[in-house]
Amino acid sequence: MSSPSRAIVNSLVAAILILSIGSCNTASNVYATKNARPNAIDFESKISNPFLKDRVDVTSCYVGDADGLLRVQVNISNTTSANALYMYKFTWYDASGLKVSNNSDFWTRRELNGGASSEIVGLGPNKATVDWRLEIRPWDR
């Protein structure tokens, strides 16, 4: 093989290696979450927490099956020393991305003590539910 064609082959091999390393990084990022145990899922795209992020911080998220229904657990911690009042709401979606009409999309109010950790748990309304979103926001007494 001539030196120009060898150079082309080498470039191709290098490009494939770079691409494969890149794809490995992408795959691992999907599951990389803060302070997470194994099997935690990426939650950045599923949780909306624009106002309380500095106080009620989502640390990890788990999804499982509970008797055929989608079950979600979002672990949170209060990073400050003051109590935090927050409310949350789950919205559920089917495989087509359509909202599952249900009676669970209401705001639930909670209080999280300063420095404490807790869980927000939701259960999909039926077996067609495959996806979810969670909103967290503050509330006043």
């Binding site: 008797d67 009676n103 669970s104 705001w107 639930t108 259960l123 039926n126 006043d140 007494r141």
Partner: protein, 207 residues
């Protein structure tokens, strides 16, 4: 001081007060109604059970029931009736149907449970029984009356649902607290055994 000034001063103060109160009352009357999310940040918090808490009771109890696994021992859908709904708090205005209706709706959506409207104490439909008499009424099509009325075809429930809304009152010198929760238990009507029971999340109110 002139006599007229000493007499008129108190009257003018009353007049001003009356004017202020009237204007305040009018401004309150003129406040336009505003539509809000009934469980959202604008919803008020009272000393009693609020709407969002009724929703929370229903949601947490349904989650408990559906994830317990006891329904797997029964055919799908299992037929239920609502037997008792007791308000055991001092609040007379709790809308127990709002909680129970949501539990029923959520269970129905999961397709594992169906309720009868012929027995029990919630969402009864007396027309099922009334319609059984149509076969004796010459006004109605007798063939349809035979086909469409419950003549030996009404479903017999297998499970019975019972609910209680409970409260516990606590008080120290200056502070009083009431805790509320909802209890639910399900009885197998074939043998009278309680096959499931659970409590909702508790809600505490302090003042």
């Amino acid at each position: 001081m002139p006599v007229s000034a000493s007499v008129s001063a108190p009257f003018s103060a009353r007049f001003v007060l009356a004017l202020v109160f009237t204007s305040l009352a009018c401004s309150a009357c003129n406040t336009p109604p505003k539509r809000i999310d009934p469980t959202g940040p604008e919803a008020i918090t009272t000393e009693q059970i609020d709407y969002s808490e009724l929703r929370e009771f229903a949601d947490s109890l349904t989650q408990e029931m559906l994830t317990d696994g006891f329904l797997n021992a029964y055919p799908k859908p299992v037929i239920m009736q609502v037997s008792t709904i007791e308000n055991k708090t001092s609040i007379s205005t709790i809308n127990t149907e709002m909680v129970l209706g949501r539990i029923r709706t959520m269970l129905r959506k999961d397709n594992r449970v169906r309720f009868v409207a012929t027995l029990g104490n919630d969402a009864r439909d007396s027309s099922v029984r009334e319609n059984t008499q149509l076969g004796n009424d010459p006004m109605f099509n007798q063939q349809q009356a035979a086909e469409r009325t419950a003549q030996g075809t009404a479903t017999v429930p297998m499970l019975s649902v019972n609910t209680q809304i409970l409260s516990a009152y606590e008080r120290t010198n200056n502070v009083r607290q009431t805790n509320y929760e909802m209890r639910m238990w399900i009885v197998d009507l074939r043998n009278g055994e309680t096959v499931w029971e659970g409590f909702s999340n508790a809600v505490g109110k302090k003042r």
